[in-house]
Symmetry: C2
Subunit: 350 residues, 2 copies
């Protein structure tokens, strides 16, 4: 199995990824939603460009350094950074980025807004700022439609900035609540005489219900390009839709019910996402990826049935974090190796 | 707080790391144990050399590629790789490595032994192979002293290899069991006319009880150089002994009891090691690092008391995995920045 590839390795099946891109783009087209994929899942400029080519209006990044890595080789002309960007070092880089692409960012507080305004005062084009709204995920975001309207008004009055709309990272299954929250926020903001051009919603678990938040103008989604065990277990996709797998080798079979592979948290990570075990061994649903240390993975089954040297493929619990572990992934199409691809945005946390 | 450092960043306090190196070296000297630090915690050649200079007999690596990164710039002349190394690609690199340093490896099965023998047949010096023993951790290793003796005999008869002793990754708190297991294994092996030169035991949780396994000749330990929340919570060390911290910035304070920092699993990882929460905010024991997503960390406390833009330092649950996330760490001494250091063995999983 991929005998030319040294293990452990992260394999990305381009046939599957392209099918995933196409299927959800069509879903968005059908429902009149603009699609803005989050690059955190793949971190590869080539796949961001494939998403744009299929019809995406732009990309989403979480950090300035991710956006820089994505636009470095051209072909990406629209970026939304869904993170409060703070500090002169970062806002200056943001301004440089705005000279190269259509750029928008988010803010949920005035310290961030003030910093953005300082950096963009006198800019040729004002920076588009969306207000981040907490619609139930309890992460960042203003916590009421009224607070959103208030911050929108303050952004509107700031040199170098333009209030461009609202953004939320929604709670899983919270479509009705998000719809009500955003509808209310739009009403309050419009009552102040401001326009809400963009309402950006997102999330892979709710991908097939994206249209239920009909007030939204665009949908951000990351994992859908690769999919993973968490989405299969939630019933969103099937194993055949999983483009990213980890290739590992059995290095020890100490007991009839246990084998050890050459791959632990340094590839699969410790992300459980509420699941039991750390991955799904393709073709062996009876196996539990029972315990990981940094370089070892312990597989258990009533009868493990492996011999030392055998190779296997694992669908990880969470694809995005696995993309961040190695400097390159191996591109394949079914059983054919296409080549290694550097993960340009790996480790870009700034 | 370290205002010249862009966040998030991994800080390594060399004063603390050097004190940690010295203290455990002295403990080993006092008890007549040889010390062989595991480089997985720091992944930095400069610190491996500091450990050697303080009195370590050599280093431990988990993978061939880690060992290559460690010996590349010289100064390290003795390496034990505590992993079943499989496949011609890796065993050939192992043979190249053996030309540069005193090298030993482990094996727990004949497929691995055969591969090593094929690669080292005709080598100027045979490769030292230790039998890996499962003394209760249920990862790799032969599962009985008799099986250890049997594999030792087979290694002894193989071209290019020399049976050099026994190695175990012990269960936490299992000192008495490891002592009994190893004593029995030595008896069975010596009864076959073989010598057991090395008995390699290890583990940071049991560091102050290393001498309780008196049959061991050497101790492998990684985390002790940095320490982390897991070791503090187990009562092994104190917060002042923690050399690695994560510097983060508060980017949002959405509620009185919640703040969000610019740092999630891409720096702190999802490793819980049985703990509640994902780290310890220095100086704020009332705070819980309650939830991480990839780039966000949600902190909760009855009264969070932070403002946007404030910086804080977090002791992670598990230092070793945090070392693996970024391409460089920032070396400091107390409040003084020494400089950035590339993490040479980051992501070396082969």
């Amino acid at each position: 199995m991929f005998s030319d590839v040294d293990t452990p390795a992260v394999l990305v099946d381009l046939d599957v990824a392209e099918a995933n891109i196409g299927r959800f783009q069509e879903h968005c087209n059908t429902h009149g939603l603009k699609l803005r994929p989050h690059i955190k899942t793949h971190k590869l400029p080539m796949l961001a460009k494939a998403q744009m080519k299929a019809g995406a209006i732009g990309i989403t990044c979480q950090k300035v350094s991710e956006a820089e890595a994505m636009v470095a080789e051209g072909g990406i002309d629209d970026v939304l950074i869904t993170f409060n960007i703070l500090g002169a070092e970062k806002t200056q880089r943001l301004r440089a980025l705005a000279n190269r692409v259509r750029l928008s960012v988010v803010a949920d507080n005035m310290t961030v807004v003030d910093g953005l305004s300082t950096a963009f005062a006198g800019a040729e084009r004002p920076l588009d700022v969306l207000v981040e709204c907490d619609t139930g995920a309890a992460r960042c975001g203003v916590t009421s439609p009224e607070a959103a309207a208030s911050l929108a008004g303050l952004i509107h009055g700031k040199p170098g900035l333009r209030f461009a709309g609202l953004m939320t990272y929604p709670p899983v299954g919270g479509e009705a609540h998000v719809q009500a929250w955003m509808t209310q926020a739009v009403a309050v903001i419009e009552a102040r005489g401001l326009r809400v051009d963009v309402i950006s919603n997102g999330g892979s678990p709710g991908m097939w219900r994206a249209q239920d938040v009909s007030v939204a103008t665009e949908y951000r989604i990351g994992t859908y390009i690769y999919n993973d065990r968490s989405l299969v277990e939630r019933g969103v996709v099937t194993w055949d839709d999983c483009a990213l797998t980890v290739l590992a080798t059995v290095i020890s079979v100490p007991a009839k019910d246990r084998a050890v592979i050459d791959c632990g948290t340094k590839v699969l990570t410790s992300d459980l996402l509420g699941l039991d075990g750390s991955g799904h061994v393709l073709g062996r649903p009876d196996i539990k990826v029972a315990a990981l240390s940094e370089e070892h993975g312990v597989l258990t089954a009533e009868s493990i049935g492996f011999s030392v040297g055998q190779r296997l493929r694992i669908v990880p619990n969470h694809a995005c974090v696995v993309s961040n572990m190695l400097d390159e992934v191996v591109l394949v199409r079914n059983e054919t190796i296409i080549g290694a691809e550097p993960v340009a945005a790996r480790g870009k946390v700034w």
